[in-house]
């Protein structure tokens, strides 16, 4: 547990503290319900908590993009640990060392893109929660790392191509890229396969 330092988190904490002060004062003093009390309660029960919830939720959504969040389910702990390992050469670990999105590397590679990408990804995340609660919660790590699969592995190349467009002239100069261009774009050959850029995660089993 760490003290949050992000501006939105601090704003949410301040609003929540003010609201709590008003509510505790009301509970302790129990004043008559006159106009002033109603206005104070409007602040304590409405405006300040709504502000705290809004700031907290935005901060929460940002936190769900971080690797620490993804690794908080025990079945993902090995994947997160591999990304944290500075000496690891797995595809995920190499992306984790990227200065621009390294802390969010799980989200950067697994999120859906497009206009509703974030919403679709969050909805998919709820499926993960459901599966975790119903199937994987008490699954031992050794068993989980053998059984967890990508739901739609054929879609993974599309996510790679959000950054690696396959249109760049330097990229096209690589003979293997040129020869497998159509297959890579169609998702028939995975960028993250043993013969190409290597498995994304050392424990990944591949397949669907």
């Amino acid at each position: 547990m760490t003290f949050p330092t992000q501006p939105l988190a601090i704003l949410a904490l301040c609003l929540a503290a003010l609201a709590a002060a008003i509510l505790v004062t009301y509970l302790v003093t129990r004043p008559p319900l006159v106009r002033a009390t109603k206005l104070w309660l409007l602040l304590g029960l409405g405006i300040l908590p709504i502000g705290a919830a809004f700031a907290g939720n935005v901060q929460g959504f940002e936190a769900t993009k971080e690797r620490e969040f993804c690794g908080s389910c025990h079945v993902m702990a090995l994947h997160a640990k591999d990304s944290d390992d500075l000496t690891s050469n797995s595809l995920a670990a190499r992306h984790a060392r990227n200065a621009y999105f390294g802390q969010d590397n799980c989200y950067a590679c697994h999120a859906d893109y497009g206009m509703f990408g974030t919403l679709v990804t969050k909805a998919g995340g709820m499926r993960h929660v459901w599966l975790y609660l119903t199937e994987y919660h008490s699954t031992p790590l050794d068993e989980a790392k053998k059984t967890i699969r990508l739901r739609a592995p054929e879609k993974m190349n599309a996510n790679c191509m959000q950054c690696h467009s396959t249109e760049d002239s330097l990229w096209l100069k690589v003979p293997d890229h040129r020869s497998s261009l159509d297959d890579a774009r169609a998702g028939r050959v995975s960028c993250a396969s043993a013969g190409c850029h290597g498995l994304a995660h050392p424990f990944f089993q591949g397949g669907g």
């Binding site: 949050p4 929540a16 609201a19 029960l45 908590p49 705290a52 908080s72």
Partner: protein, 92 residues
């Protein structure tokens, strides 16, 4: 103006709101799956319910005030006219 029940409802609403605020701040200190999901589900429901309860109390209070005002109006219309017989323009 609010009845004892309404005051009790407000106390419950305040307690619920405090619980909601606690859950919402928990996710900020511990940004892991369980606290965030709990804050965005249970926390939101508790917070919304407490604000709805506050709205209900205000509505009940407003209706009670209107009822009281109406009753006071009836009572004054039943009063006998002043001894000099003068009445205002509306005849009330």
């Amino acid at each position: 103006m609010a009845s004892k029940k309404m005051h009790q409802l407000l106390v419950v609403a305040c307690a619920c709101a405090l619980g909601a605020l606690a859950l919402m701040t928990w996710q900020l200190f511990n940004p892991r799956a369980f606290p965030i999901i709990v804050a965005m589900s249970v926390g939101q429901v508790l917070g919304t319910a407490s604000f709805a309860a506050y709205g209900l109390v205000l509505l009940a209070d407003y209706r009670a005030m209107r009822r009281a005002a109406r009753r006071a109006g009836y009572r004054s219309s039943e009063d006998p006219p002043p001894p000099d017989g003068s009445a205002d323009a509306t005849g009330e």
